[in-house]
Symmetry: D2
């Protein structure tokens, strides 16, 4: 089969012809890929940023936002059958450790992450995952339409879902960064809460879109954004979702966070800092956010199928994977690039 | 009456003879002081650290940990009567703003803080406060025995109370700093949870006491404390209560905090910092903690009256207030210094 | 002033000329009434149903859903001033007991309920209440437009607000009774959650309206409603809001409640019963719901001012109060009858 | 192997010689039984009470409170290995449905219950269960000492665990029925909360034991128990745990439940009933409680290993199973009867 493989860091991957994956354990599932999202993390992998953390044997196949159809199942698989349309949670989990048993999939002691850890990902014709990663979809769903919800989507959704109890009417939520994830966060906030949604971005076009999908107020990040948010929120927001979290934005986010408020960190790359007195005098909090759970993905699919969360996507053929990666790197992709077979 | 007044920063306060406070509004309460705690914050006031933040007109009376007997009440006061034994929440709140109405007294829009803000405190024979600050006690309670619960006590208790849902059996809690507040936190943790309690302090005597009041494990802060805590917790604690939060301890606390764990900040003076990636990859959190609420104080009095939380105190006469302050500054006070009339 | 007073049970009230209420305590507020809702409870009062429970001295003024303008304030009132437009929480609370301090206004130990308990209500030109009952509104709000949110509104909202954490995407909520309260519940559910909303009522017109304001499915209560709901919910709903709770509906509601689900009781008059085995084998729950809190009212006003909750009202002059009561009794009022001065 | 099998209802089971269970699926685990608890539910099975609900093919082996050592594992089992000491959650769950993924094992769509549903139980030398039911223990644990925690234990613990957020200092908890389950509830309440624990039972000896293990107050159920509890709680408890829930106790429990309080149903056999007005005027609640989860069992084992929850047991050999059942039926068992090989 064809697969996009990384052979060496700092070099383009190549499209190789490799054997199809096979069932190896009783809970394995092989999926025929119908759509694979192209994520900024893929660029970071190529730049070697994950080499030390994940240390995969090269060459390996990238792609961690996948949807398709079940092709083959192990003998212990009971939740999906050959032919089912599925979207895949990016991190297959064991279902046996205490974290899994408490619904905290991402804290699983025995998980792996195809396309990131030392396991082949989904920029290929077929992918091997496990039963616990498969969310069964309506048979008529087009996998390419939803694939990007598998990672970008649930990361944004997971954070919003955690914040719901904080965001009752009269509160304010700030979304910094109206790109792929922020865009889903705005829609999820509008679907799940009646908070006042304020979106901050450098790009006026992104803000225009934000207004159409649920933002109550938008703020151009032109240098005065902290003051504007403080004014719009009466001294700081209840929750600030920071999808940038680098280049000082993580510090501005803290200034935008009101007394007894919460800064949710979702982007990365920066260095957060604040006097411990800020935490004591203001009773302010910083909340970490990892990729969402399997149940988050299931819930997000409910919103997607109800039309409450929609994604703008641009399709590329698997053969054009390098174009997709180059376009993403060059800032030419509007919405999410999706590889289709 | 006699009162300990600050006339100038960086200079000892003096014991002055001033008029007794009078009822000024319908919800005012004048309390005859039976015990006033001497707190490190009083030293900080004298050093001028709060001058800019609170900007009180000098001279003024310090003392924000007070208990005594109701001496006079305004016409609108219905919850206490002259002669009642009371402990006082340090920050009288309005009862009318949304924060007060949600039980978040410390977020009150209209509060003041006698002995810290521009209002006379309790190192005196009488103090003026309001109805909403008064917790009625059993008549036979000695105010001097409980006064220190009014500020130090509820600060520790408030943080523990917030953490209870996180600290089910099998989890681990670390208390850094087994002084006045940490000491109450250990007792509150033992009373309210079945978590494994690990106490970290430089002082072996403080650790010995911690073991007697509920610590399951103790760690001397001799340079290896981070590694020891990581080993005792299997890779980081569920919750770390940092009562120091300065001189780098706030950074060690982060290293002691496990995946999906919580660092509770209670001390101050330091500068917290961490890569935003830490928040994302580990889903770790930093939680701010201010002084507790009125209801926290009520609950803590229940624990105190059941003997589940006890305080070691050293009494000084009001005339010897300077001795108490000097002893505290010199590290000579074991437990809490209390001024009595 | 003119006031609608009950002189005797089972007899129409009369419109009397009585003295205006005066400020009696420092926290009292006298409000010039701009709108007073006419509620089914007013009919029940006239029928003597509340005589034993509340035991008011007759004659007294009814009317417990009030909004207007502040006319006079006691010396301790700080949150509103003469001329402010206000909506009134129906039960002034003390702000001093532990329930008030925890945000549970309706559990206040010292509350009263003008127009129901032994205190004059708002079907009059003026009403005496207290500072803690006043929610300040935008000056240009017409009190008659919002008065009914003061009791009917917050009762529905309070229950929905409690249920929010249960009603994530993929869950189902059933609203039984699409009248005044149910109608607000549907709008609040649509504003605060993305659950699937199923409305059950005998009246097809009420269901038509429900569909317009947020219901995803409607079920005519024609005898097959339990089976239909079980089918629409796949075996029972996550939460059933029962605004009828009499004449056997309270038993049907239990059958509509799914495993690990919640029956929220809001109506009254019936007798709930179920085998204790149902609670154990199904882990099902029955949740009581009283009138909402002051903060619920504040939040609901946010939704109302954003147009997310709207009320259909019919205005009657205060002089025509008997017409309003008779029309309500005869089932001729569409929406909520409001008395205006 | 020897096994206690039901051949016919209303007749003693017999001790048969049957083939050992074999691994049938990749996630199966065969356990050599070290201890099997004898439960009142076993008597109910023999009386045919579960015949319709579970409809097992007869003959079958009873016994649903089991602990022992892993004897054989399927090829997909990764969490336990042959020789491990284990206690078994009574209901093996699938790990794939949304309930399992949310940590609600007992709501699993695909679960079975050996010894109750149509699957052989643990009153035998060997039992077949699955990987997800196995909790690994310290190797030196004696299975017979802990077996009864597997069902009775986690049922009591699960309810207490759910109630922890409600039971802060100053609240009151009533435990009705100080038998096997109530006895564990008292210990769990004392370990996890600082609430005031009031125990109600007909048997003064049971109350004496309750006082030794954590009860603050005891009340003999001699006809005045409702009034006594109302007096001890100041008008009703915060939470009432009803381990009887038949013969009218379920109605007394409601009277013992205070305003805004919670009646937790754990026993069964009775018929709960109350006016819907009670739920509205008092905002009172009835909470259903099923057997605990796998994680509940894990947490309870932490308490047991710390000596915070202890069980009184009486051992019988597997050959004497009928004696154990007869003794239980005759009320002659103090604590819990355990069959050992």
């Amino acid at each position: 089969m064809k697969a996009v493989r990384v052979h060496e860091y700092h070099v383009d991957p190549s499209i190789d012809d490799i054997p199809e994956p096979k069932i190896e354990g009783p809970l394995d599932v092989v999926v025929k890929i119908g759509g694979a999202g192209v994520c900024r993390t893929d660029l970071h992998i190529l730049e070697g940023q994950w080499a030390d953390l994940q240390n995969p044997d090269l060459p390996y196949v990238i792609g961690h936002e996948n949807a398709g159809w079940v092709h083959e199942v192990g003998e212990g698989v009971t939740n999906v059958a050959v032919g089912d349309t599925v979207i895949l949670h990016p991190q297959p989990s064991c279902g046996l450790c205490m974290a899994c048993r408490a619904g905290q999939d991402m804290q699983c002691m025995n998980a792996f992450f195809p396309g990131l850890s030392n396991n082949d990902g989904g920029m290929a014709e077929y992918l091997r995952t496990t039963a616990r990663a498969c969310v069964k979809l309506n048979p008529d769903t087009n996998p390419a339409d939803v694939a990007a919800l598998a990672d970008a989507g649930i990361t944004a959704y997971h954070a919003v879902r955690k914040a719901v109890p904080l965001l009752y009417p009269g509160t304010t939520a700030v979304v910094i960064g109206a790109g792929g994830l922020g865009h889903i966060a705005v829609q999820a906030l509008a679907a799940l809460t009646a908070t006042k949604i304020i979106v901050v971005d450098k790009n006026p076009d992104a803000l225009k879109l934000a207004s159409q999908i649920g933002a109550d107020e938008t703020v151009v990040a032109d240098g005065n954004q902290v003051g504007e948010v403080q004014e719009l929120t009466g001294g700081g927001a209840t929750v600030v979702f920071d999808f940038v979290a680098e280049q000082g934005v993580e510090l501005e986010a803290w200034q935008m966070t009101g007394p007894a408020g919460y800064q949710f960190v979702l982007g990365y790359g920066g260095q957060f800092q604040a006097p411990t007195l800020d935490f004591v005098a203001g009773e302010k909090n910083v909340i970490g956010n990892i990729v969402g759970t399997y149940n988050d993905l299931t819930e997000l699919m409910v919103l997607a199928q109800a039309g409450k969360v929609t994604l703008h996507t641009v399709q590329y053929s698997l053969d054009s994977a390098l174009d997709a990666l180059h376009d993403l790197d060059a800032g030419k992709v509007r919405g999410r690039a999706i590889l289709v077979p």
